[in-house]
Subunit: 332 residues, 2 copies
């Protein structure tokens, strides 16, 4: 029996479980020459998927109504008529939210369960790690001794960015939504300081204390008022990596806030939207580096693992309330 999750209707504001539809098929899947049969092992849920649920022009086309949702998936090859893949292999790739599926193997990468836990290939050794590493390197251009602020710091990407920044010798300040998360940033991930945006009375003032030399790099996953507060603290030639804007993804009206332009002019500062897929030619080298750091124990990671295929939509929705620590993954 094959279960699949389709986009039933597009969310207005916050996504809800009613935006998704579960369908079940009973017939056994048959593969043809060149194809493989996959059984899903882990499914990644990510904030950016919210954008694809809307019918708006963006860097990836929107999901279609009554078609499967797709995201990063780890799957096991259970039958193969494709020379590149053997039964028992594990692969990662953009795949349907489905318990089983047939693929020609295009866009799939084999992953090695002996080198790292399979789920890591969706996180620190997958798009998450690549986003953190390449966003920081390519736009942030970090230099030892500089100060970086990371919003959404306890999330999948943010927690990796902070650790890499520490490896590179930066002073690292994370912004997250609970004291427990702030503790984790400092004690597990080695951040120098953290701000709980839910209890802070004045993020701008707290930053001035924690970053007395100003902010050289801002790795932004959230947008909104937190990012406005950071603007008051940027240094000349600051670089701001706009990786996500989870605080506004569910807004039904266009979000407004401080005009950033005067801050950019005053500081000759840079703000750039970052999409990891633009840097595909750098993936192999970046994965190598991440794997090395992981092996050396310089890089660690946290996952929030939810069990059960039926819980995928709920896990996705929980992202917007910050219920995850680190990477949110559903184990099938």
């Amino acid at each position: 029996m094959k279960k699949t999750i389709l986009l039933n209707n597009r969310p207005q504001g916050e996504p809800t479980v009613s935006n998704f539809e579960f369908v079940t098929e009973d017939n056994t899947l048959q593969i043809s020459e060149g194809e493989i049969l996959l059984e899903t092992t882990y499914v990644s849920v990510d904030p950016y998927l919210r954008g694809r649920m809307s019918d708006a022009k963006s860097y990836v086309p929107p999901f279609q109504l009554n078609k499967p949702i797709q995201s990063g998936v780890i799957a096991k090859v259970v039958a193969s008529k494709n020379k590149k893949f053997a039964e028992g292999d594990y692969v990662s790739g953009m795949l349907d939210w489905s318990t089983q599926q047939i693929s020609k193997g295009v866009g799939l990468n084999k992953v090695d369960a002996s080198k790292a836990p399979l789920s890591a290939y969706l996180g620190v050794l997958g798009m998450t790690g690549l986003t953190a590493f390449l966003g920081l390197q390519e736009i942030g251009k970090p230099k030892a001794g500089e100060t970086i602020v990371i919003s959404g710091a306890a999330g999948a990407v943010g927690s990796v960015v902070g650790q890499i920044a520490k490896i590179l010798g930066l002073h690292v300040i994370g912004i997250a939504g609970t004291d427990e998360k702030i503790d984790m940033l400092k004690n597990e991930f080695g951040f120098d300081a953290g701000i709980n945006y839910n209890t802070s009375e004045d993020i701008n003032a707290e930053l001035k204390e924690l970053a007395p030399n100003g902010v050289d790099i801002y790795f932004d996953n959230v947008g909104g008022p937190i990012s406005d507060a950071v603007l008051f603290n940027i240094n000349r030639f600051a670089r701001m990596i706009i990786c996500g804007a989870i605080s506004v993804y569910n807004k039904t009206e266009l979000p407004t806030g401080l005009s950033v332009q005067p801050f950019l002019v005053k500081n000759s500062a840079l703000m750039q939207g970052f999409i990891v897929s633009n840097y595909a030619e750098k993936f192999p080298e970046a994965i190598q580096q991440l794997a090395t750091w992981l092996k050396e124990g310089k890089l660690t990671y946290t996952e929030t693992i939810v069990e059960g295929f039926d819980n995928i939509p709920k896990a996705f929705i929980d992202l917007f309330e910050g219920k995850n620590k680190g990477k949110m993954i559903v184990k099938i």
Copy 2:
């Protein structure tokens, strides 16, 4: 008799003539060894000076109360005890708003009145031309066939940016505040199209018609709602040069507007504050190129020349009502 204009008090909102104080000194200026005596010929008034009248941290220190205002000036050497400068030379540099002054020559460049009108060294062959050329090149990275939108297009910098963009083969759309200015952009400066922001009912919709392939480069001199409208039209990998924000310089509250971050993420777009002085090592080459284009007739310019030292403050204030076409200069 020497007349000087001091900063009397800092403007709240719009600058007024009462922010300035005229002082007169009767004693004859005497130069020492290494010094030159200068008589002011032309004074540049520029929107960025508004920032220096405030007491806020920025890329240049604020003007001090009861001290002379400074800006770009062309002056004649009327006496010299400095080997580098002879009586009769003309120089350009950052100098006091004063009819006469003594200098050691540091930071002054000789200008050649036989090669171009003296006032051009404050405009197209000075900071204005350098700002237009280097902002476009270094951040805009223009490619033939792309579409550029320029705000403040009839101003000193904007009108040069548009002409350079045409030389480089771009499709050029200017935004300015009167039909007369739009006519000038199209008929004198060769812009492909223009939008009068004072009469346009929907700048976003007009842009969609004039730039059906979207906007690759936005050269922004104004900020505010005009820039918000441009955001809806940017292409993937768009570059936005934030050169000025004249629409907000006189605001007493922090300006707000559309959150730019979601637009940047969606389009992998870049927004960068530009200050010409960061690119000083490229000045000689850039001036050479501008002078060549000027000589070849590919580049032209407009000036609004106001006569009389006493009119400097008024000329400066008029900038904020867009009373200038091209470079605003006061002839002494």
